[in-house]
Amino acid sequence: MVELIGIRNLSFSYGKKEVLKGINLSINKGEFVGIIGPVGSGKSTLLLIMNGVIPNLINGNFDGEVHVRGMDTKTSKVSEISKSVGIVLQDPNSQIFSLRLRDEVAFALENRKLPADEVERRVNKYLSLFGLQSMKDEDPNNLSEGQKQKLAVASTLAMEPELILLDEPSSSLDFGGALEMYKLLSKLNRKGITIIVVEHDTEMLVENVGRVLLLKDNAIELDGPPAEVLSNPKIVKYGLKVPCIFRGRKVKK
């Protein structure tokens, strides 16, 4: 097993406000991991730590070690880490800045100085994947929230990173759109891409991920296969939804 992310004794706080404490985590190449937890448990912060945004761009008290593909995130630039790690943030409106869909997808590829024909190939490929190809010259501002979410994911996937981090990718999508998104993510995972997703909709995790982390009070409380974590009674106690498939089991307990 090749370790892609190694986190040792990590603690992070904004001033006196503790966000994460005593985190030890190892994520191997090819895993599909779901992170769940109540609001304010540090899920999104953990994602930002995994691609070096913390501590490089966001200041706070950072203790411990985080290695991504062997790179220490404290000493590596985010742009360097981004060659292997792509991230999709929760609000697509905050990340889309180009005037045309194609430019948004091409942005990361041009930063990497890929040849123009390769940029064009990937732009077409990833816009088609989300049914946005016919709108490639349009202004992203005219898209629906769901389409903007798809565009944000497409622009990250186009980077073809080894590891993709997604913060609630289904939040702007309807049920069908969310299923479609997870189907695509599963397909990418089967091709060997490591995926870590923060998700509040536990239904989406049941069939797609191989491992679930439950964060509570700024620490990892449960870590295991979805059947084990998502059927745990603590899920309800923390205000999270037990997926339908496990509800019968909960009643028996």
Partner: protein
């Protein structure tokens, strides 16, 4: 919204670098020759440019909103300070501001942001600054939308803007959302390999017949006027 308005007018087709040169030239005329004799024909040129571009004058009227009050402000101010010739100087100052804003907006309405960025970098504006400027222009419409949403939500809770007090219930949420958006954008850009210390902007602008003609014309007009 203060943003590029797609079109195919001759002004839309002019190279972004030529447009910036002309914008600088027109602003220079305004600043150095700020008399009514110059500003009146200048205003005619501004109107003509809008006509050629196919952009309605209603557009800047909508975009500036209450900013029009700021443009008109010199008139009462001059009249207060100088009761005799105050009206004359007030009108000159207001027309000066109006023309400056209208032609600057026309440049934004008729130039794609990408071309604007390339043109700024071509003129050796530091790439970081050029990038910041173009991103600001890109986010202006979103800020305007956000402002409308905030206004509606505060009005629904009974808030009314009072003329002589700072509209804090509007300013605070707008500042908060703008700063949050800026932070998120910075994270997203750097996560996609953007290195602010090493911005490379490929310039693929191309000059056409019309651009060459305008470039030849520019020094002739310049020497005729100065």
């Amino acid at each position: 919204m203060i943003a590029f308005i797609p079109g195919n007018s001759s002004i839309h087709r002019v190279d972004a670098r030529v447009k910036i040169l002309y914008l600088a030239f027109l602003l220079l005329i305004l600043v150095t020759k700020g008399s009514l004799e110059v500003i009146l024909p200048f205003s005619f040129v501004t109107l003509l440019l809008y006509r050629v571009s196919g952009i309605s004058l209603v557009q800047p009227l909508k975009d500036l909103g209450k900013g029009w009050l700021f443009i008109m402000l010199p008139i009462p101010l001059h009249m207060l300070v100088n009761p005799g010739a105050g009206l004359y100087f007030g009108v000159v100052s207001s027309l000066f501001l109006l023309n400056m804003i209208l032609i600057s907006l026309l440049n934004i309405y008729t130039t794609e942001i990408k071309s604007l960025l390339q043109a700024l970098v071509f003129f050796k504006v530091p790439s970081e600054l050029a990038f910041m400027l173009t991103i600001s222009i890109r986010f202006l419409p979103l800020m305007q939308e956000q402002m409308t949403r905030i206004k509606v939500s505060q009005a629904l809770r009974g808030y009314e803007t009072k003329s002589l007090s700072l509209p804090m219930p509007l300013i605070v949420p707008l500042m908060h959302s703008s700063l949050k958006r800026a932070m998120q954008l910075a994270i997203s850009l750097e996560s996609r390999g953007f290195d602010p210390e090493n911005i490379n902007v490929a310039i693929d602008l191309e000059l056409h017949k019309m651009d060459y003609l305008l470039l030849i014309l520019l020094p002739i007009v310049f020497f005729a006027l100065f």
